[in-house]
Symmetry: C2
Subunit: 342 residues, 2 copies
């Protein structure tokens, strides 16, 4: 199928650019030094493709739904829930499914309560944990000084303690590389102190914006590098904008010099700002519309197709049922975004 | 099922508050004076409930998917696609489906091209149109001076021209009621001029923020009044916040005085700003997390459940698979959000 025959709005993945991104990352972080993050795309087909191309089969997830889908898809060789959960029943079913599928799963814990939930789930089979440590982002993660106690608690509860994780999410998006470098050092000094008390073979940290700034942590949790967005696009990373939304111009107002395409707030994560209209200037977005100002030298017509780049890839992916995988202007595959919702 | 047994994040609709909103609207705009907008919730179960309670069975949609779902659900007695489409093949299939279901559908047109698409679709059965007129919002809609020509073009193409529509979307969200009142008058003078040239029995306009400010237009297209959001909540309208997202506290940082719940950017439309954490203060939202500052007098614990209100209801609904319909703390029904995607 050709680009022009697609119903719009349509989420497109440029396969050559995706492969460029996979290759760039695996040059810097080969094999087990990368733990690719599923939350950035929620798509088992993409995960399988990246594992086959890169040889990296460590993954992490942000939700139980993502974990369940990855195990069911046979992609659970080394799978981390890099988030806290208290749903011990559902986590228990996941442990049982992992046993049946010969998958190996871990879960992040940062409190007595999350360790208790993991211990309850571990009735159904072996479950390893990482102690999640707050390294500066105001989100999950225990205090450095509590990490050793939690590790001991987890071991006593029969859980395997594989090490520590800490996400410097307050650092990854900053455009100043030298600042990112300094801040990674600060964050990792905290994680290192926690690891001294916890032990284990895994030290997991980072994201797309800091993938090549980690010397001490032995694996990086990055996901956005695969598909990219205009926010990460400002950082000068060696990853290309591989994902776009194709839309159709449904109205043109020549007198007031704007045009309207049929992709809006329900097709783009908006927390990082407006999508970018390639070749034109964005005006504003509403539920199902992007109003834009055509480039001065371009005569936009009703029925034309335009390309938009998302500001934030993760929530954008979660808004689409499927991605059309493109080589040039031809659709070569359709990947369901099968790990949406919860 | 009780509130406490729900998996989180969960989208909740308070049935009593929804019914209050339906009743408030139908007091002001009874029967055919309301055309309830499906884009605000994308849920045929909710549409059916509101039609049964209010007696209003006129609806409008923003996408073909919404139109198809409403016809298939037997809710197509008087159904308008209040948006432009060029997908004549799919529109043709919708026309055929409407004939088979004894549904009556209309589509907005604002250009030669959208009229041509409608005319092509009308091969499959009768299709009425409204001439969509730009009344001040920089989006779809023809110039007032072009409305008569387009109506004539549509009639010559074999389409039934039922009248005009014009959405004053630049007005509906402003908190100053007197300004809204003035601007509705300005916008409706444009629509009235267009109607003079177009004719027909329908003059369709408005939204939740202007539902009671229309004297001339004979139907109002409003949707947000059903479920509401914190943006419309600032306007002093007689509609209650009937929709919330239930989340679980998964981490508490007492030293730094914040807590984290498991609902984030993938659970809330963010274009109107952060969701509101009921009883606490929002800090920031990330993909699957809401970090908030607990109220000074409240001891928040891991495992607690909190309530969040969306800033913008329409994209929020599009992010959830289902809504749990609540009476008090008990689930009385589950409504699929069945008209998501495109």
């Amino acid at each position: 199928m050709h680009l022009n025959d697609l119903p719009t709005p349509a989420l497109l993945i440029d396969l050559d650019l995706l492969d460029h991104n996979i290759d760039s990352m695996s040059t810097a972080r080969p094999g087990a030094t990368l733990r690719s993050h599923i939350k950035a795309h929620k798509c088992t087909s993409l995960a399988r493709h990246s594992a086959q191309r890169s040889g990296s089969d460590r993954f992490c997830c942000a939700t139980l739904r993502e974990m369940e889908g990855m195990v069911a898809a046979g992609l659970g060789a080394d799978l981390l829930l890099a988030n806290e959960t208290l749903d011990s029943e559902r986590l228990g079913r996941l442990v049982a499914a992992a046993v049946a599928a010969d998958a190996h799963i871990m879960v992040a814990v940062d409190s007595d309560e999350t360790i208790a939930a993991a211990a309850h789930a571990a009735i159904h089979g072996p479950l390893d944990v990482l102690i999640d440590v707050n390294v500066g982002l105001p989100r999950c993660g225990c205090d450095v000084t509590d990490a050793g106690r939690l590790a001991e608690l987890a071991r006593r509860a029969g859980l395997g303690v594989r090490g520590v994780m800490g996400y410097e999410g307050h650092v990854v998006g900053n455009a100043d590389r030298s600042w990112r470098t300094e801040q990674v050092t600060v964050s990792m000094s905290r994680l290192q102190a926690a690891h001294d008390a916890v032990g284990g073979d895994i030290t997991s940290a980072g994201g797309t914006g800091t993938y090549d700034l980690h010397g001490w942590a032995n694996e990086v949790q990055a996901g956005s590098y695969l598909l990219m967005d205009t926010s990460y696009g400002q950082l000068g990373l060696p990853f290309a904008q591989a994902t776009s939304v194709l839309a159709t111009v449904i109205s043109v107002n020549r007198a007031e010099n704007f045009a309207v395409a049929n992709a809006g707030l329900k097709a783009f994560g908006m927390d990082h700002g407006e999508p970018t209209v390639v070749g034109h200037s964005m005006f504003f977005t509403s539920d199902e519309h992007a109003t834009f100002v055509p480039a001065p030298d371009v005569q936009v017509r009703v029925g034309d197709r335009i390309t938009l780049w998302p500001g934030h890839i993760d929530p954008t992916m979660a808004m689409h049922e499927r991605a059309y995988v493109m080589v040039g202007d031809e659709v070569v595959d359709i990947w369901p975004i099968d790990l949406r919702n919860w």
